[in-house]
């Protein structure tokens, strides 16, 4: 077991927990948002960063998780059961989305996931009995193992626990044969095939694992927002998640969380700085502009993301390389 990763994950979670205590309810909400985004980004990083399968449907997968968890919880199921159920449902839908990936590659598959996103969004709006249609499914405060989750603060605990578990599990996954075959798959499907890796099997499992984690994130998001609404799980959300893993550092272990924190906190930071600077009137477009420009600049000048940037600033810093991270010369990332 990679003890170091476990220690780091727990330490980060404790730090986040402390922050949520220090900054009241809003702080708790933000910490929760970062944790959820981090879990979602980890799931997408597993798929894109490690597995090389580009997906634009992650937003909808989170939605699947939120609706599933909401329905289980509203029906009286324990929150934990709801979260696990959301994971399973996310995994199933994700594997379904992944089936075309057995035939399609690269760009074609990426476009197919755009379609999956659009179709799922439509289903959210139309499947009234499950999703309550456009109104969105109001999710009543859940109880996890008998403890009521009525406040933002109480929700921080399960979010951070799941974050740590997922984070460490991903690290472990990349150290077993399955994870290693993802990495080969990312470099080249032909090489993977030649090396005797069962490509179809590995791909479906990558989607399954990623979908499971996305489902967990979706469930937590549902509990935090107390509403699963089709407007919350759009293509924009998918794009946000891709931005997170790219800004954080594609295919790295710490990247998803750093990217998640960055993407969640940046708008708020600009908002507050802008308010202080008296720019309230044009803050929204400024936030968008900054976000878009940052994505572009990162991709051009630091394609390996914040992780690489941080490790360059401070050689022995938080930025722990992934299991055998990209070496300095590796300028070509996964296709």
């Amino acid at each position: 077991m990679n003890t170091r990763h476990l220690v780091i994950a727990v330490a980060v979670a404790l730090l986040m927990g402390a922050l949520s205590l220090a900054f009241g309810r809003f702080g708790a909400y933000m910490v929760n948002a970062v944790a959820i985004a981090g879990i979602g980004a980890l799931s997408l990083n597993l798929l894109i960063g490690y597995g090389g399968q580009i997906s634009f449907a992650q937003g909808a997968l989170l939605g699947v998780g939120a609706y599933t968890a909401g329905n289980i919880s509203n029906a009286g199921g324990d929150g934990l059961l709801a979260i696990l159920g959301a994971g399973v449902m996310g995994a199933i839908i994700s594997a379904l989305i992944g089936i075309p990936a057995l035939r399609l590659r690269g760009l074609y598959f990426a476009i197919a996931t755009l379609a999956a996103q659009a179709i799922l969004e439509y289903l959210f709006k139309i499947l009234d009995p499950i999703t309550n249609g456009v109104s969105g499914l109001v999710i009543r405060p859940t109880t996890i193992l008998g403890i009521p989750m009525t406040s933002d603060r109480s929700l921080v605990v399960p979010s951070l626990v799941i974050l740590v578990i997922v984070w460490v599990a991903v690290s472990r996954l990349m150290r077993i044969d399955l994870g290693r075959s993802f990495l080969v798959l990312r470099e080249s499907e032909i090489v993977a095939k030649g090396m005797g890796i069962d490509v179809a099997h590995a791909k479906i499992l990558a989607f399954f694992a990623s979908g499971f984690i996305a489902g967990l994130a979706g469930a937590l998001a549902g509990f935090a927002n107390r509403l699963a609404s089709p407007e919350a799980f759009t293509l924009d959300l998918s794009a946000d998640y891709i931005a997170m893993i790219i800004i954080g550092g594609l295919g790295t272990w710490t990247g998803p969380l750093i990217g998640a924190a960055f993407v969640v906190l940046l708008p708020e930071a600009i908002q507050r700085v802008g308010e202080a600077a008296g720019l309230s009137d044009i803050l929204s477009p400024l936030r968008e502009l900054a976000f878009g420009l940052l994505i572009i600049l990162f991709l051009i000048f630091e394609p390996r993301g914040l992780t690489a940037l941080l490790s360059r600033l401070k050689p022995r810093s938080l930025a722990v390389p992934a299991p055998g991270a990209v070496p300095a010369t590796g300028e070509s990332l996964p296709p």
């Binding site: 894109i48 580009i54 075309p100 035939r103 399609l104 590659r105 690269g106 760009l107 074609y108 990426a110 476009i111 197919a112 755009l114 379609a115 999956a116 659009a118 179709i119 969004e121 439509y122 709006k125 139309i126 009234d128 456009v134 499907e189 293509l235 794009a239 891709i242 931005a243 790219i246 594609l250 044009i282 929204s284 477009p285 400024l286 936030r287 968008e288 502009l289 976000f291 878009g292 420009l293 994505i295 572009i296 991709l299 051009i300 394609p303 300028e331 070509s332 990332l333 996964p334 296709p335």
Partner: protein, 305 residues
């Protein structure tokens, strides 16, 4: 019958604008292997630029030409500043950077022109033809014809002129093109410029029909079903598929949805199928990818991985 004809006219007019957008996406893809999410942004910026030029008192013809020139410059500028440094970047990064461009373009337009819809100045004469129960405004006719003529004109240029030949060479085989003395990177810039100019025109036409707002950028997303259905590497396919999808959406909204809803209301407790046209193009896309991944007019083995 009148309804069908009228829907067909509406569908073709919008479809011809789709075609313009999709031709631009395919052009860029053929030449540089980049799938441009920002095509809708070019359309939106183009419409705003035309608006600004018209407001400045320019004659509509000049305004449209001016818009295409500005957009052409913008297109080649993005290629040089943004895409060229990313030549060796992974596919997801390239897709994301074009998404970033879309976000930036929206934000910039939001800062300059504000969030509200704007009435687009009249470019085409007002009025409508009404014959045999079909009612078509001049604006529709003009926009549709202009888009179609430009699409075909562009295809002809691509097929028959010297620059078109160089474009096709650069798109076909970079190494061979370099070897016969073609500056491939310049050709890529030109492709981006032409593509952005076409999108700018499409955006302007769309604005004459539907008014001007930031949501205009959303038209870029329709390009994906269109190019997949048409075949990612076929400009002609993009044109045909654009028209096809325009028709399909129009018939979905005007015929399929009401028929479906009437049936469902009659026999079930389901009352609405929602905005069905939102998914119909994507359903078609999925079907196409599963049945004939190379699209209607694409060649097999054109997939670059």
């Amino acid at each position: 019958m009148t309804l069908v004809l009228q829907l067909a006219v509406a569908g073709l007019a919008i479809g011809s604008v789709y075609a313009l957008i999709a031709i631009g996406v395919v052009l860029i893809y053929k030449c540089s292997g980049v799938v441009n999410f920002a095509q809708g942004a070019y359309a939106m910026v183009g419409a705003y630029v035309s608006y600004a030029l018209l407001r400045a008192g320019l004659h509509p013809v000049l305004a449209i030409i001016g818009c295409m020139v500005v957009l052409g410059g913008l297109g080649s500028l993005t290629e040089r500043l943004v895409l060229r440094p990313m030549l060796k970047a992974p596919l997801v990064a390239v897709m994301m950077v074009t998404l970033g461009l879309l976000i930036v373009a929206r934000a910039a337009c939001l800062i300059i022109w504000g969030p509200d819809q704007i009435a687009f100045p009249k470019v085409f004469p007002e009025g409508a033809i009404s014959a045999a129960g079909i009612f078509v405004t001049y604006n529709y006719i003009a926009a549709g014809i202009l888009a179609l003529v430009l699409s075909f004109g562009f295809l002809a240029m691509y097929q028959f002129t010297r620059i078109g030949l160089q474009q096709r060479c650069a798109a076909d085989n970079t190494r061979a093109a370099l070897a016969i003395g073609i500056h491939v990177s310049n050709q890529v810039s030109i492709a981006w410029a032409m593509s952005a100019a076409l999108a700018g025109l499409a955006g302007t036409l769309l604005a004459t029909l539907n008014g001007l707002s930031l949501d205009l950028a959303g038209i870029g997303m329709i390009a994906f079903p269109v190019i997949v259905v048409g075949g990612l590497s076929s400009l002609f396919g993009a044109l045909v598929a654009g028209l096809l999808l325009g028709l399909l959406q129009s018939f979905t909204d005007g015929l399929l949805s009401p028929v479906l809803e009437d049936f469902l209301r009659e026999h079930t407790s389901i009352y609405s199928v929602g905005a069905l046209q939102q998914v119909v193009p994507y359903a078609l896309l999925v079907l196409m990818l599963l049945v004939r991944p190379q699209g209607l007019f694409g060649r097999r083995g054109t997939e670059r991985v």
